[in-house]
Structures are given as C-alpha cells and as structure tokens.
Symmetry: C2
Subunit: 329 residues, 2 copies
Amino acid sequence: MGIDKNKKIVGVDLGGTTFTVGIMDFNGNILSSVDTDTPVENGPSAVMGKILDNIDLAINEAKLSREDILGVGLGAPGILDVERGINIFSPNLKWHNVDMVTPIKDYLNVPVFIENDVRVAALGERRFGAGKGRKYMIFIALGTGIGSGIIINGELFRGSIGGGGEIGHMVIDSNGPKCNCGNYGCFESLAAGPSMVARAEKAIKSGLETKVFELAERNIGNITPAIIYQAAKLGDKVALDVFRETSFYLGLGLVTLTTVFNPECIIIGGGIAKSWDILMPPAIQMVKTRSFPGSRDVVEIIPSQLGDSAGMIGACVLAIEKLEKEEEL
Amino acid sequence: MGIDKNKKIVGVDLGGTTFTVGIMDFNGNILSSVDTDTPVENGPSAVMGKILDNIDLAINEAKLSREDILGVGLGAPGILDVERGINIFSPNLKWHNVDMVTPIKDYLNVPVFIENDVRVAALGERRFGAGKGRKYMIFIALGTGIGSGIIINGELFRGSIGGGGEIGHMVIDSNGPKCNCGNYGCFESLAAGPSMVARAEKAIKSGLETKVFELAERNIGNITPAIIYQAAKLGDKVALDVFRETSFYLGLGLVTLTTVFNPECIIIGGGIAKSWDILMPPAIQMVKTRSFPGSRDVVEIIPSQLGDSAGMIGACVLAIEKLEKEEEL
C-alpha cells in the first residue's frame, strides 16, 4: 500500500503577524500560495477557521479539489506537543493548549502533522533548498530571536522532550546582559535584531551623529535592523559599528555550534540574514579560525535558498516525510 | 546466525600514562582487569605489543582461552578514523596515523572496534552505569580538559566527520583567556583542572595565605585540583573561592548544554568530579534556574557510576553494541 505521489500536500506557515498556506507536489513545485494576516486578537478558533478558509482558497487557486490532498503539514511558533497535535504555549500567538490538528483533520479528512516553525524550515532547506543531501546541518533563523532546526544523521533533532536546538539561549558571554528568558549573556540577547537596535539607540543617545537616526525619521522607536543595514550600506560609521559588534557575537555562537555539532553546513535564514554582505563575512572568518580544528575546515556557512518560503515549503516537507516514513513501516 | 553471548569481550582503555585491559561478559560482569603503564616513549608498536601481552594476561586471569573471545573494543584519546581503525592524531600518545586495529585483529582473529575514549565511557555509562535506559544523555569527562560523549535518540553522536561533542571548546566567555586550541573563552580553559590550579597560583602569588600552598609543600608546581579540594574541605578561603569560580563557569557550560541538547541527564565523570560535594551544587543550581524552561526541569545532573572503569567497560560495550548491530543486519 504505497502513498499516491500524484496527490498534493498542504503546508501552513503560521506566524503571529501573518500566515501562509501553500500547495506543493512531491517534487517541490509550489502550485499555489495564499498570504494573509493572522487574526490573533480574535482568538485561536478564529485563527484555525481562517486557516481552513485559506486552505480552500489555495486548493481553488491550484485548480484542485479537496480529494487531491494527501496530507497537511503545519509549522507554528511555540512549544508543541507534536504527538497530540497541541500548541502548549506560544507567546507570539498568545496561545495556551490549542489543538491545531483536529480542526484541519476533521475538515479535510487527511493526516495532519505539526512541528515548530524553525524546525520545519530546516526540513524544507534540507529537501529542496540550501541543505540538499546533507545529513548533518543546522538551519538558523536570525530575527527578533534566534531559533534553529538541527538535522543529525539525517533526522530532525528534537531532544528528550522537544526542547532541543534552543540555540538562542546558549550562554556566550559570562557577563552578558539579561535576556527575556531570565538568563544572562544568551546568544540571542547579543546577536539578534533587538540587540542591533539597542546598540544603535545607545550610540544616538550618547550624541553620535548617524544616518540611522535620519532614516528612522529622527524617532528612535522607528529603528529596525533593516534601517541600520541601509545606513551601513551608505558607509555610516555608527551603523557599521553596530554590525561589527553583532557579527562578533554571532561569530562566537557559530563557533560553539560548529565545535559542538560538527555540521556539514550551517544555513542562515530569517530577516537579519538579508544583510549578509555586511553581517556574515566577519562571523564566517571567526568560525574558520576559532572553531575546533577539523570541524572548522568542513563546515560551510551558507544563506537560506528558500527565504521567506522556507516555513511553508518546510511544512509541506514535514508532511511528505512523515507520510513516507509511515509507508516504510 | 546469532552471536554467541556465552563468549566474552575484551575492552581496552588506552591512556597516555596508563592503560587497562579487561574481560567482560554480555551481562556487564568484569571477569578480569589488568592495569599497567603505557610505554609511550617506546613508540606505537611497543604500545600495541604491550596491549597484546596484557590481553593474554587478562584472558589467563579470567581462566579463559583466546577462543572464548568474541570481539575487542578499544577506547583511545585523539582524532580517530573509526572505519579504517586508525588513530589519526593523538597529542597524549604522541601518535600520528597509527593502525590500532590490525595488530589486535591479526592476533585474536576477531572483530576489533575503536572509538574516542570519552565516547566509549558514555556507552559504558548508558548500558551499565548512571545512564541506563537513557535515549538522550551527555557524559562529561572533567579533567585536564573537558570531553563529552553524547547519546541522541539512543545513538552515539559523532558529527559529520567525527568531531561532534567537543564541548571543551564551546565559547562561554567572550572576553575569556586564550585556550590551547587557539580560541578564547573556551569552556575547558575556564572550568577544567588547569584553570583551578591557575586560580590557586594567582591567589598565592598575590600574597594570600592558603592551606593549598602548605599542602603542596610550598611548591606551586605541586598544586593539583585534588590538593585544592583537600584545602577546601578544611574550610580554606582561597580554595573555596577557586571552587566558587570554577563552579560558576562549569554551570554556564552545563546551562548551554542543557538548553541546546535537552538531555534527560548529564553524567559527570573524570578526576575533578571527585570533588562533587563542593563543585557541583552551585553548578546544578545554575542549570536549574538559568537553562531554558522545560529542558531545565527534566535534566538530571548525576555522577558517573562506573568511575575509573567507565573507559574499559565502555570499550567492551562498544564491541558488544557493534556486534549486536551487525547481527541485526
């Protein structure tokens, strides 16, 4: 009893602000894709209802019917019980114990699989993106926080209770600042987007002249990593200093990951990765000189190929690989 | 064609100073054990010859003959090519590209398996020690350096080219001291034995009174972690300060490992673990408060059960598990 690979897969990439529903075939071709805002303020059932609506839209857009769908994958932020299909806690969605599987399963009558959003992006990159054929890889999402999806010996690494890969909270500086998690000196408190904004703010408040402030319309609240990048591209000294410091801490974290995991590659995605040309060369240089010998020679640090689609494509891959595994058994 | 579990296994724990050869049955009973110095200065063939001699001694001591042996496991320091049976480079043994398998295989005519010494200790603890039944665990050897053997989903984690688990060279302090590996702020440069000795030396040189100096017969070159522990047990303030600082950095490293790997347990072995009552409580407290939520709640930090025998028993377990796996195929 094989699975019918002529059928299609639905992938849902659920974020706290927007979400994407897409339809993919088994070869990685995206047949349709629907983006809308996530109605978080209306509560979980409104969000789940909107997901069902958009699944229908995506099916129609691909000129398919519900019978053509073989399974659904769903990537979401938060701590998930993937066996029971429950989102136990997601600060982004403001959810506690939300059943993400049953509504979709009841609607489409096909298997539905869920997994943490960064982990599904890793699965996407591994099957159809920058990590093709890799058995040992780390996908890193660099944004407001720093998350990862880690592949070990070809398998997604989850840890004993699904907490594995929380690399944003590695300690990289014993005297570092307090992090949202309560710990000090965490990787993400020193290398994620908010740390960049905080560095720029500090420079402005100390009276330094910078294009960052102008580009933010002289309103500190408007500063974003993208604005700092824009200023850095114009040669602004403050912006370049912000990047220099961020690259240093990013490099330290990548050194630890290279040394401990000995991966074939580390794939960098997420919003901040878009400033690759300024952010990454110094960090890569650190990896190549300061990681453990052997591991530093083999590791490749490369950008995401799937970009903003990594989550949706990865959600489809989650479903494909679960269905393939069930078929093998 | 099953394997004959009435036969016995030879385990070799090869160190740069001493080595142990033992015979074990499939239930973990040690039937004999022979310890001698490692004749490192006479070169690799002298060492391999001495291993063969001691295998015969151990077989005789157990009142067995060579025909009773089903396989040999060998744990050794250094970077190993486990497929080809070669010790590529070991600073401790002063070896480059030494074939560790062929001499034993030719002598006993049974399969011989090699693996890094800390990894085999992890296998030993998992099967017959503190990690029984664990699928996600980290064994840490705390000594002159800090090494680890990591079990993920029941399997030994090696990384893409066998460099995985080099936790001694995680960066835990962005402004930390230079490490032997060339990097700065490495875990082992802040939490292994030599860092303890350096802290005590610094205190003595700054003119502080301490029992450490007396116990070392007023010779700084005699200071060891064991002497610092002895002084700490007597309430010596300098020794207690050395432990306080070491526990802090040890705790930081354990926080990162707990957060990234989400293990069921971390088992601590090696010489320095013998000062558990002073060293470990503050480090465990850090893990329980500063690691990522969820992971910090499940992790148990526990002492090695096999102690100094972990390497020899683990070498036997390496052979047992390789033979069992071959049988399954």
